[in-house]
């Protein structure tokens, strides 16, 4: 066991730091660039050095580096410390690009991959539909090949960033006669067309991070299919991952916890700082135990991934643990803020406005629920742990429904 990175990696870290010191924040002429252009220029350089787009072949604009979880982690740490731009975020780089690289036609890779990783094309994901949550096989949106175009009709939901996306990758039912999973295809659809209407789907906080997408005779060329007709289910499950970020979610949880401790130190509770209240102390300490176990398990997974080993059952648990932590953070915060627990999460300010932090905790109190449902409900997560992790029998209804 050795929590240092060793000489070779520390050498690598030194190089990364030196690189960042040179080019970020932008110096000289580059300092004059717009924020966006500056980031773009930076990314090109960082990719040349092999720091970004590491899993993407050079010919599609990547740096084509051998997989190395430790280097990837050092890059994340140092870039984050320097507040430098990382790989372009989003569902396009996270899900579409790996899928195209594994299953796409050559022309599809050429057309889409580089522009997506460089942030010039934005994507949204069209999987979920009203009425098919965890049960994707029941989706109903239809695609019909009419001449040289697919014509799509149906409705998608939970479509993050649909209003800003250029393209959507989506699952449609194209083979009406086929059995549940076998009738689905994976299509790439341009968003800017009359057949597509995007409506925001506000959440209970009042904000709107999701959309519904209505497809009414929406069109896309016949060849904008990834994999063959009826293979969409398998295509969508290609989970090629170059370097996992196995400690990312724990780092998020840790940041939330730090925020909570700060809140407890700065909020008066029952006549003294909340952190001095014995009940709050016990709750914080208990939660920190869960958090630390989660964090250190991330280190275990990082090590296993770096060695190419299977970290075991622990990898089925991250989502549910992160959800549980988020939920407990929110509950403790709600107790700490007292009357502010009645405030509107979107409270815009005005004369009686409280410091922004309080309403952000209300937001968190509700949003911690959104996290639970976004990654599939906690019940789905528990099924996964029980079935894949513990080897218990599969759910009878899911099994029946999948026709096995």
């Amino acid at each position: 066991m050795d929590l240092s990175y060793g000489e070779e990696y520390e050498q690598f870290r030194t190089e990364v730091r030196a690189f960042l010191k040179d080019v970020w924040p932008p110096k000289g002429d580059e300092a004059e660039l717009s924020k966006e252009d500056g980031a773009r220029r930076f990314r090109v350089r960082a990719t040349e050095k092999g720091y970004l787009s590491r899993g993407i072949p050079r010919k599609y604009g990547g740096s084509e580096q051998p997989s190395d979880e430790i280097r990837a982690n050092i890059i994340r740490e140092e870039f984050s410390r320097a507040h430098a731009p990382m790989d372009v975020k989003g569902i396009g780089t996270a899900m579409l690009v790996p899928t195209l690289l594994e299953k796409g036609e050559e022309w599809q890779k050429e057309k889409f991959v580089e522009k997506t990783v460089h942030g010039e094309l934005h994507w949204c994901q069209g999987y979920s539909e009203p009425g098919s949550g965890s049960d994707l096989a029941s989706l109903k949106t239809k695609g019909e090949l009419v001449g040289d175009e697919w014509v799509l009709n149906g409705q998608k939901i939970w479509t993050t960033n649909a209003h800003t996306a250029d393209w959507m990758f989506c699952l449609c039912r194209t083979e009406p006669g086929a059995s549940k999973h076998a009738g689905i295809s994976y299509l790439l659809v341009p968003m800017d067309q009359p057949g597509i209407e995007v409506r925001p789907l506000p959440q209970m906080t009042g904000g709107a991070d999701f959309n519904e997408v209505f497809l009414t005779d929406a069109r896309t060329p016949a060849d904008h299919i990834v994999g063959k007709r009826g293979e969409g289910w398998q295509v969508s499950r290609s989970t090629l991952k170059h370097e996992r970020n196995s400690i990312g979610s724990a780092a998020q949880s840790a940041l939330m916890f730090q925020g909570l401790v700060h809140l407890a130190k700065t909020t008066e509770y029952d006549g003294r700082p909340g952190i001095e209240d014995p009940v709050i102390r016990q709750r914080l300490a208990r939660l920190e135990g869960t958090l630390k176990a989660h964090e250190y398990s991330g280190l275990r997974q990082l090590t296993a991934n770096a060695k190419g080993e299977n970290p075991g059952i622990i990898q089925t648990m991250s989502k549910l643990i992160a959800t549980n932590i988020g939920s407990e953070v929110a509950k403790i915060a709600l107790d700490l803020i007292g009357d502010d627990g009645m405030m509107d999460p979107l409270e815009s300010g005005g004369m009686m406005a409280r410091p922004g932090s309080q309403s952000s905790w209300i937001n968190q109190y509700m949003f911690s629920l959104g996290i639970a449902v976004a990654g599939g409900t906690a019940n789905i997560q528990r099924n996964v742990i029980a079935e894949r992790g513990l080897g218990l029998p599969r759910d009878i209804y899911a099994e029946r429904s999948s026709g096995k």
Binding site: S134, M204, D270, D339
Partner: protein, 356 residues
């Protein structure tokens, strides 16, 4: 020995439920929820015509002369139906004047409050989540200067019962000089709140010492309201489980969800007796009144908040959206839990009142 509602009480609850079913479909509720004022005059008129403006006002002043239990039952049913508006603050103001007002104050205010022509409210909270009469700082006297927070419908009410240092109560009229009201953006848009800022504002002292009684009554009403919200949420979840399908069956077939709904049921159903008892103790068992109220408020509002969270999850993704009705009662639960102090505060009071 009869721990049950009278026929009249059941009729009262049924009548309210019927009214809300007719006059407050959820589409209308949402309009009021999203409106400027959070108040619907037509609905208010309907409610006060049923006598809800003066349930606990003595009959000689035009009220129904009923007890806190009746008020709590009305609160439960109004909450179950999601009713927005000033009923809560109004009822406590009416109770406070009935208990502590001078004859002149009663003459002047109770008849108007009973008919709902005047709307009452109360201003107890001060900055720092201060609610309890013994903690009030704003000085009384002939005039008031200072700020009270989280006043129900401060923009709307015609008269306020205001708590002052030493645990006294005073009356302030809306038109009084030096009185400003500012809305506060609360989470529950069905129960609006605001701040009152007093600047040498004239006030009238109330002779009776009833602040503690009014506090206990408020706790019982919040408990009853939370109970109504909790049963509504639990019912919504069961209904959803019976209709929503997944993997070819209604999701109520999934044992994990069944058990979550069973746990929800055991966290809410026994609370009915808990708030009944607290209300009954307020009316008839003086020695248990304060403690029973603290227990009911802490226990029920805390349980219901968890039920509200679990309800979002029981609905899956849709439960987290604005368009899903869960949010309406979720926010009601947040209000009931925070208003007049979070559960831990009342649990500590509960411990002290037991001599622990």
């Amino acid at each position: 020995m009869n721990f049950d509602l009278t026929e009249e009480q059941q009729l009262l609850q049924n009548a309210i439920a019927q009214l809300l079913q007719n006059e407050l479909p959820v589409t209308r509720l949402r309009e009021i929820f999203e409106s400027e004022t959070g108040h619907d005059e037509a609905l208010w008129k309907n409610l006060v015509e049923m006598g809800l403006g003066g349930l606990v006002i003595p009959e000689e002043y035009g009220g129904a002369g009923m007890e806190l239990l009746d008020l709590a039952l009305a609160s439960e049913t109004l909450s179950y139906g999601g009713a927005p508006g000033p009923f809560f603050g109004h009822s406590l103001a009416a109770l406070a004047v009935s208990l502590a007002g001078s004859d002149a104050q009663k003459q002047r205010w109770l008849p108007q409050l009973a008919t709902g022509d005047a709307i009452g409210s109360f201003a107890f909270a001060e900055a720092g989540s201060v609610w309890q009469p013994e903690d009030w700082v704003m000085a009384g006297g002939d005039t008031l200067t200072g700020t009270k927070l989280n006043v129900p419908y401060s923009e709307l009410a015609d008269v306020f019962v205001v708590g002052v240092a030493g645990g006294g109560l005073v009356l302030v009229e809306r038109e009084a000089s030096g009185l400003e009201s500012h809305p506060i953006d609360g989470v529950d848009r069905a129960r609006r709140i605001g701040a009152l800022i007093f600047e040498a504002t004239p006030c009238e002292s109330m002779p009776g010492a009833a602040a503690d009684r009014v506090r206990d009554a408020a706790l019982v009403l919040l408990a009853a309201d939370a109970f109504g919200a909790g049963t509504r949420l639990a019912d919504m979840c069961v209904e959803y489980a019976k209709t929503r399908e997944q993997f070819g069956v209604t999701i109520g077939h999934f044992q994990a969800l069944k058990h979550q709904l069973a746990n929800m049921a055991i966290d809410i159903e026994p609370s009915r007796a808990l708030y009944w008892y607290a209300a009954h103790a307020f009316d008839h068992i003086q020695g248990e009144s304060a403690r029973s109220a603290a227990i009911a408020k802490a226990h029920i509002t805390d349980n219901v908040m968890q039920i509200a969270r679990d309800s979002v999850e029981a609905h899956g993704g849709i439960g987290f959206t604005w368009e899903c009705d869960v949010q309406l009662w979720f926010k009601r639960a947040m209000f009931d839990r925070a208003f007049f102090g979070v559960p831990s505060l009342h649990r500590e009071r509960q411990a002290q009142l037991a001599g622990w």
